[in-house]
Each structure stands twice: as structure tokens, then as C-alpha cells.
Symmetry: C2
DNA sequence: GTAATAGTTACCCAGTTGGCTAAAAAAATA
DNA sequence: TATTTTTTTAGCCAACTGGGTAACTATTAC
């Protein structure tokens, strides 16, 4: 049951960290929540930092989106690729709505983790692939691919991070959160496609 | 010197909270950093929560942007209004780049503060005013104003929150952070204007 | 000068923090 | 069965947490 226990500890730590942040959680709390004793937690992780790094590794995988595979397809045009990328982000964000805020706020406190999270390679590659797609549309500005990528991520991710605010401001015409999210997805695809037309 | 001291305490607390988050800061730390003793800190604020609420009130004002005044102008068209709103956001964000992340992450831990921060009224009003402007452009979808507003805020704010990541991924064609921010501002105005054309 | 306000100093508190250990028991593996 | 791995129990530590007090001194206002 070794692997199971370690995973359980990581899962527990993950949900606690996401809810309260690194400083808001104690080792005792993690152990108690996982229904395990402090000793065992130290048996698997020598320090709180070690637990956190384990969680961060998991999270990096969960928020990973294979943009390159979508962008490299030759059977669909760029409009459809944009649609698929946005869909991927929304699927991920619906499953893990609190993750981006957690990652970014811990990253801003400990920027050294940015290298550990191997997101940079993926994003750089996606940025270049988008640039190629845009070039075919005769959009050749310096860094256009990067700008587009950032826009896409901003548009998808931010509303989830700001949900405590958007929920308050959202007009009555959206009957609930789910309906708004669905409408938002369509809107984002449109605005992104219009951006290179 | 009463007001000055209280302000100094709030400023100190503000910068510490922004850097480390609520749980990452202790009352002792605030007092030491402000070169004041714990007793005095308690003299002005009966609890850590009280300090935090004071800071939150200040922050709410700092991130406030008078969108309504821009939107109500009759001497310029909507394209120009969009330009001015984006300019306002960038000015504010350049002064306080860490604030949005701080506000949103504390808000997600304590959603009850969302009402205290009286942003909702402002944003609701702006949302309606934008809807009117868009109606003149024959865009009448349900909630179009709200969607546009969220898009604008997302595009402006997110890159600042994700700067530890964007700095790593940013292509070499942008020679530094300042140049990227300037280019980004122009790009955002374009994408927003295209969105209703 | 007297009263109120502002600020200091030096304590105390009980509870929690992250970190660690030794010994024992239980479970899995050989 | 004997050995190794996993898990529990119970405790320790020094340091820090937010909160609070009482006595004292400046400073300011009236």
C-alpha cells in the first residue's frame, strides 16, 4: 500500500494547499486530513517543502494542455484548432477551477519554482507553431504567435480566477454559472478568430 | 502624528501582505517592518483581521478605474473609449503589478470580502454602458457588454499576474519587459476593437 | 496646568508551528 | 518462518503565533 499512501498524502496536501495556500496549511493538518499520523507524513516527505514540491509536480501535469498536438494537425484549419484549444482549456479549468490561481500566487511568492514547472518549453513551442499558422494568414508581426497565445490563455483562465467577482457582477440574463461558462466559451472562440481576420 | 502612523502601518502591512499573503505575515513582522512596537499596532488595530480589512479597503480604491466616466463621454467614439480604458488599466497595473493576484487569491480564500470591496457596482454599471455602445454598433447579443468587459479585464490583467511565466516564455524579439508591455497594450486595443467589427 | 491623545516598554498567555525521534506493532514479502 | 517494509503511537523540541495587559512617558490640545 506504499504508493497508495503517498498518493493519498499528496492528494490531501494538494486540496488543502489549493484551498488555503502554502502558508495556510500545517503538516499536522495534512496528516489529520489524510487520517494518517504525523510520523508517517515525515516518513514519506522529509519536510513541508518536499510535500509542496510533490504537489506542484502533480499540478503541473494537470494543467498541462497538449497544444502542440492540436497545432500540428494538417486535417483541420486554424479556426478549428483554436476551437479545440479553447475546448481543452475549458475542460481542464472546469475540472480544476482553483488551480491557476494557486499556481500563479505560489509562483509569485516563489518565482524559483517557475523552472521546476516545465510549462515553459510547451508554451514556447506552441507560441512558435501559432506564429506559423498566423503567417499563413499573412499576419507577420513580430511575436504575433506569443501575443495570440497569451490572449487565448488570458481569456480562458482569468474568468475562473476572478469567479468570486464575476459571480457578483454577472447580469441576470445568464441564469447560472454553467450557462455563463458555456456562453463564454463560444464568445472567446469568436473573439480569437476575429483577431486574425 | 496619529494619522501618519496609522497610514504608515497600513502601508507597511499592505506591502507585506501583497508580497507574502495574509497567512505569510505576522503582526510582529508588520510592527517591526514599520519600526513600531507590537503594542502600538494593537492600539490602532485590535486584530490581524482588522489590519487586513484596512489594507483591503485601500487596495480596492487603488485598483478602482473610473470606466463610467470614460464610457459616458460623447466627444469620442467607442474605439477611442476602449483605448482610454485599456490605458487606464495599464497605468494602474504598472503602478501595482502584484495587486490583482493578491486581491483574487485572498478573495478566493475569503469570498465574503467580495461585498466589502465595492467593485461590483462599478463593474455592473460599466457593463451596461458598454452594452449601450455595442448596441449602436448593432451588436445586441444577450450579455455582450459583460462579455466585452470581462475580455478587456482578462486581457489587461492576466499577463501581469502570470508574469513569472511569461517572462520565461517571452520570445527574444521583445527586448525587455517594458517593450513587451507597450506592445501588448497596442495588441489588446486592436483585438478588442476587432471583436465588435 | 490639566486632560487627552499618542507612543513605548516589557512582560504574559495558551496554542500552534515545522521538525524530529525512538520504540513498537502490523503487514507484506521472501 | 524470518525479514523487510509500512504504519502507529507518543512524545520531544525550540520557536513562533495572535492576542493581550499594565505601567510609563512623551506630545499635543484646551
Amino acid at each position: 500500500m506504499a504508493k497508495d499512501t503517498k498518493d493519498k498524502l499528496l492528494e490531501t496536501a494538494h486540496s488543502l494547499f489549493e484551498e488555503k495556500g502554502f502558508d495556510g496549511v500545517s503538516m499536522r493538518e495534512i496528516a489529520e486530513e489524510a487520517k494518517v499520523n504525523k510520523g508517517l507524513l515525515h516518513y514519506y516527505f522529509k519536510s513541508k517543502q518536499a510535500v509542496f514540491l510533490g504537489v506542484f509536480k502533480i499540478v503541473s501535469k494537470l494543467i498541462y494542455i497538449n497544444l502542440a498536438d492540436i497545432l500540428k494537425r494538417t486535417d483541420i484549419d486554424f479556426d478549428e484548432k483554436v476551437g479545440l484549444m479553447v475546448d481543452s482549456y475549458f475542460t481542464m479549468l472546469s475540472k480544476h477551477p482553483k488551480m491557476p490561481l494557486f499556481v500563479l500566487s505560489e509562483l509569485s511568492k516563489h518565482p524559483e519554482f517557475a523552472e521546476g514547472a516545465d510549462l515553459s518549453g510547451t508554451l514556447s513551442e506552441a507560441s512558435l507553431l501559432i506564429e506559423e499558422c498566423l503567417a499563413e494568414k499573412n499576419i507577420n508581426e513580430e511575436g504575433a504567435g506569443f501575443q495570440f497565445l497569451i490572449s487565448m490563455v488570458s481569456l480562458c483562465v482569468f474568468p475562473f480566477m476572478a469567479s468570486p467577482l464575476t459571480k457578483v457582477v454577472r447580469p441576470a440574463s445568464f441564469k447560472d454559472d454553467a450557462q455563463f461558462v458555456a456562453a463564454r466559451k463560444i464568445y472567446i472562440k469568436q473573439i480569437l478568430i476575429k483577431s486574425y481576420q
